[in-house]
């Protein structure tokens, strides 16, 4: 059988790295083909080449047996290739209908013909059980629904080769399950799906075959039913990976970090984004705040760390009220923070690795003398952290932070924050976008810190992570504390119901 997509010997280079090195990929009609690899393995680059966002230096692309030259996304659309990007390409203030026909409008003497489009959208939505109201505004619907709008957009354009770029990153467990059903019904109709992912469970759930990439090279293509998770992980990372981390029994100590009646308001809408939030964190435990993205977790952390002012409430650290303290004071009093956005807050990308490692501590007597930086001491410290936390980069301490991979950037931040030796560590989505190997490393480190008696506040959207690490779980929904759970007595499904607002425990 002729494959619908065949990519032959694709090579794409960026200054300094070969993102795709002679990669071959063949996708059959009616299959879900997973593309598995760590961050920076070249999955997105390969798909961008197929979708016409990049042009490969070498290699050929065949669609249904014919060689094609895809210069831009319009060429790709004409060949029936559609893509759901990780970050949706939707206009917030437009309706679903408007977003779907955007760029594809039927026009009658300069006027839009929306009625036919509306009918077709309702039809498609019913056919695939997408449950989408064509007249709702994008900003009013959930992230899961927005994703389905993206899927509808592809269907509306008669795309039959669908690329999904990490589609489950923003979904709740229930939504993930629905998405998987939709994907299966799409291939039943003879469409083909390429699923970019680094989550092994998803592959096991839906994919027929999987192609594994590592460091820009193709490692293997396997039938999913012949492959185990361990096997896939090993090929993806290049070494064996531990799945079950040893977790010692939970022996919490005294309370070190707490907040009460926290209220924060959005500056523009005046909506309370954090509402009457409270928790108490003890030494030697990992307390997790779970929730779907955008339910006030980000703001809560800003409030706790002093990045944004609180409207009401108190924050205490080691029995001292720090509600009105400056960020520097909080840092010095023993608060470490692994920020959610490592490129915006965590690192100065145009600084070298060693400079980033002293970002909080450059004024420490260890690193300066009468205002002059002690280069040797800084270098020595950087080499220590690099060694201890296995931070890999092209030039060691003098590598530009910008040039490092996401996983290594994160390890550097983790190392820096841990080395500050504080009692409390706030870790916000510490493994977001990282691959199995890096996740394993970070999880092991966090558990080790807990066993050393540190107090860790973990903010996470990934239920796997929540279940694996937490000693206690608080679910946050629309800025509020909607329930506290013991991980041994709850399930991801139960948490999902609280996270989506269908249930709440009355305090």
């Amino acid at each position: 059988m002729i494959p619908v997509i065949e990519m032959n010997g694709i090579t794409k280079e960026f200054p300094g790295i070969i993102a795709n090195d002679n990669i071959t990929l063949s996708v059959q009609e009616g299959e879900i083909h997973a593309l598995l690899g760590e961050n920076g393995a070249g999955k997105s680059t390969l798909m961008s080449v197929l979708f016409g966002l990049y042009r490969a230096e070498k290699g050929k692309i065949f669609v249904r047996g014919e060689e094609v030259d895809i210069k831009n996304p319009n060429d790709a659309n004409e060949l029936g290739i559609g893509m759901v990007h990780q970050h949706f390409k939707l206009v917030d203030t437009f309706s679903v209908l408007d977003n779907i026909i955007l760029g594809y409008e039927d026009v009658d003497r300069g006027f839009l013909k929306k009625d036919e489009a509306r009918e077709r959208i309702i039809e498609l939505s019913a056919q695939y059980k997408l449950k989408i109201d064509p007249d709702a505004l994008i900003r009013d619907i959930s992230v899961g629904q927005q994703q389905r709008v993206e899927i509808l957009k592809m269907l509306y354009r008669d795309s039959n080769i669908l690329i999904f770029d990490e589609p489950t990153a923003v979904l709740t467990p229930q939504e993930i399950e629905e998405l998987m059903k939709i994907m299966k019904s799409l291939v039943k109709e003879g469409r083909s799906i390429i699923l970019i992912t680094h989550k092994l469970n998803e592959i096991q759930m839906v994919a027929d075959r999987v192609t594994i990439l590592r460091k820009g090279k193709k490692i293997d293509t396997l039938n999913v039913k012949d492959a185990t998770n361990e096997m896939l992980a090993e090929r993806m990372v290049g070494r064996k990976v531990l799945f079950d981390l040893k977790k010692e029994a939970h022996t919490p100590g005294e309370e070190v970090f707490a907040c009460e009646n926290l209220v924060m308001r959005d500056e523009k809408t005046q909506k309370a984004v954090v509402n009457d939030m409270h928790f108490a964190l003890r030494k030697g435990e990992i307390l997790t705040i779970a929730g779907i993205e955008g339910n006030g977790q980000t703001e809560l952390v800003y409030g706790l760390t002093g990045l944004k002012p609180l409207e009401a409430g108190t924050v205490t650290l080691n029995d001292q009220d720090i509600t009105h303290e400056k960020i520097l004071t909080r840092n010095l009093m023993g608060l470490a923070h692994i920020p959610e956005d490592r490129q915006k807050f965590g690192l100065v990308l145009d600084y070298t690795l060693q400079e980033n490692l002293i970002l909080h501590t450059y004024f420490d007597a260890r690193f300066q003398e009468r205002g002059f930086l002690k280069k040797d001491a800084i270098l020595e410290f950087a080499e220590e952290v690099i060694e201890k936390y296995d931070v890999r980069s092209s030039n060691g301490p003098t590598s530009m932070a910008r040039s490092m991979s996401g996983g290594n950037q994160q390890k550097a931040i983790l190392g820096r924050e841990i080395e500050r030796g504080t009692d409390v560590i706030i870790a916000v989505q510490p493994t977001r976008g990282l691959d199995v190997g890096a996740i394993e490393f970070i999880h092991t480190e966090l558990l080790a810190l807990r066993d050393q008696g540190k107090a860790i506040l973990l903010i996470s959207l990934e239920l796997d992570e929540v279940m694996r690490l937490s000693d206690r779980i608080i679910v946050m929904y629309e800025g509020e504390h909607v329930g506290e759970f013991d991980p041994d007595q709850t399930s991801p499904e139960e948490l999902g119901l609280y996270m989506s607002g269908s249930h709440r425990k009355e305090a």
Partner: protein, 375 residues
């Protein structure tokens, strides 16, 4: 394997070092700007174009040490305003107000230079510092507006340029006006920046101790930026304000300090420009060009103090070339301004050049690797 030659080494060096590529881009911009000048000269007067062009390039050697001295004399204020712009830029601020700070500084320097004659041999030093401090004050204003009210420093300092200009005009008229020639009085003899040994060394050029000030400021700013915790904070705030805040740095204080220091340096430039014989504050409503040229020099010098020093001296050589161009041919000296403008225009495309250079070098390297015979 084929032996590595020096060409491979050089290619590798440029491919590994973004700074080297940036320097190359600056040099290409300069060459491009000069070629634009040459083309204009060819259009205007083909017969003398090449002679004129060589005057622009080599004018500085025309009168031995004297023209070199004058070149440096022209360069000093430009180096200082360039440093002012570059320093603020490293903190993420665009100091387009260098000309205002310079004007404000110049007025106070001249005022002190005229009136405080009791200071004796310290007179010029105090006048110079008065200029610096006045400039610092003028730079601090947009810094504070930016830090506390988040007012865009570009808009604030552009407006302050005009305030400084009219303030200077008003003050000159009320305090130090020489009615007979309709301009300010000149500073007292004791307030003029001494020429010292430069006078004999450069055969009576205008060069004075201002050159040492330029060198000293370059060295100090270089040390601040590359060696101190203060510079570490300033650059951090410049690169990423959010990360700096997250790390506990006081971004507001840093913004104010950076603008104040930038203003101080521009103020020094103003003092050095006017604490000389034969140059007087006027009551014309013109912004002093040196402040804007500083932006150009900062850009060419890649916002590094040492780069600015080199670019400033290059600018001085064009100025002196322009001076001789006017003397020896009938080309107008404004041609120099056109060349500078073209250089700036081309450096603004620097990013494009950097990529183009990178790709060309990469191709060269690939081609050389391909030469390796298969065994």
């Amino acid at each position: 394997m084929r032996e590595k030659t020096w060409v491979d080494g050089l290619l590798d060096y440029f491919l590994d070092s973004s700074t080297a590529v940036k320097i190359l881009a600056s040099i290409i911009a300069i060459i491009g700007g000069l070629l634009v000048g040459l083309v204009i000269m060819l259009v205007l007067d083909p017969s003398r174009a090449f002679a004129g062009f060589s005057t622009i390039l080599f004018g500085l050697f025309r009168n031995g040490t004297q023209s070199i001295g004058n070149m440096l004399y022209y360069a000093v204020p430009i180096i200082l305003t360039g440093l002012s712009v570059a320093f603020a830029f490293r903190t993420g601020l665009f100091n387009i107000g260098a000309t205002g700070q310079l004007t404000f500084g110049a007025f106070f320097a001249v005022y002190v230079g005229i009136n405080w004659t009791f200071l004796g041999s310290f007179h010029w030093v105090v006048a110079l510092l008065a200029g610096g401090l006045a400039g610092a004050f003028w730079g601090m204003i947009p810094g504070m507006l930016k830090a506390f009210r988040n007012v865009n420093e570009v808009v604030a300092s552009i407006m302050l340029n005009y305030v400084a200009m009219y303030f200077s005009t008003l003050m000159v008229k009320t305090l130090i006006y020489n009615r007979s020639v309709a301009r300010a009085f000149g500073p007292a003899e004791s307030a003029l920046i001494p020429k010292g040994f430069f006078d004999t060394l450069t055969n009576g050029s205008s060069l004075n101790y201002g050159l040492f000030v330029a060198f000293l400021v370059t060295a100090i700013l270089h040390i601040i930026l590359s060696k101190t915790t203060f510079g570490f904070q300033l650059k951090s705030v410049g690169f990423n304000r959010d990360a700096s805040r997250y790390a506990g740095m006081n971004e507001k204080r840093n913004i104010i300090l950076a603008m104040t220091i930038a203003g101080f340096v521009s103020g020094l430039a103003g003092a050095i420009m006017f604490l000389v014989p034969g140059r007087f504050l006027t009551i014309e409503s013109n912004l002093l060009q040196e402040g804007f040229t500083g932006i150009a020099v900062s850009l060419l010098g890649l916002s590094s103090p040492i780069g600015v020093l080199i670019a400033g001296i290059f600018y001085g050589s064009l100025e002196i070339g322009g001076f001789y161009l006017q003397v020896t041919t009938n080309f107008v000296p404004e041609l120099i301004e056109i060349i500078i403008a073209a250089i700036i225009y081309i450096s603004a495309l620097a990013l494009f050049f950097q990529n183009a250079i990178y790709k060309t070098l990469k191709k060269r390297k690939d081609a050389r690797l391909a030469e390796v015979p298969h065994e």
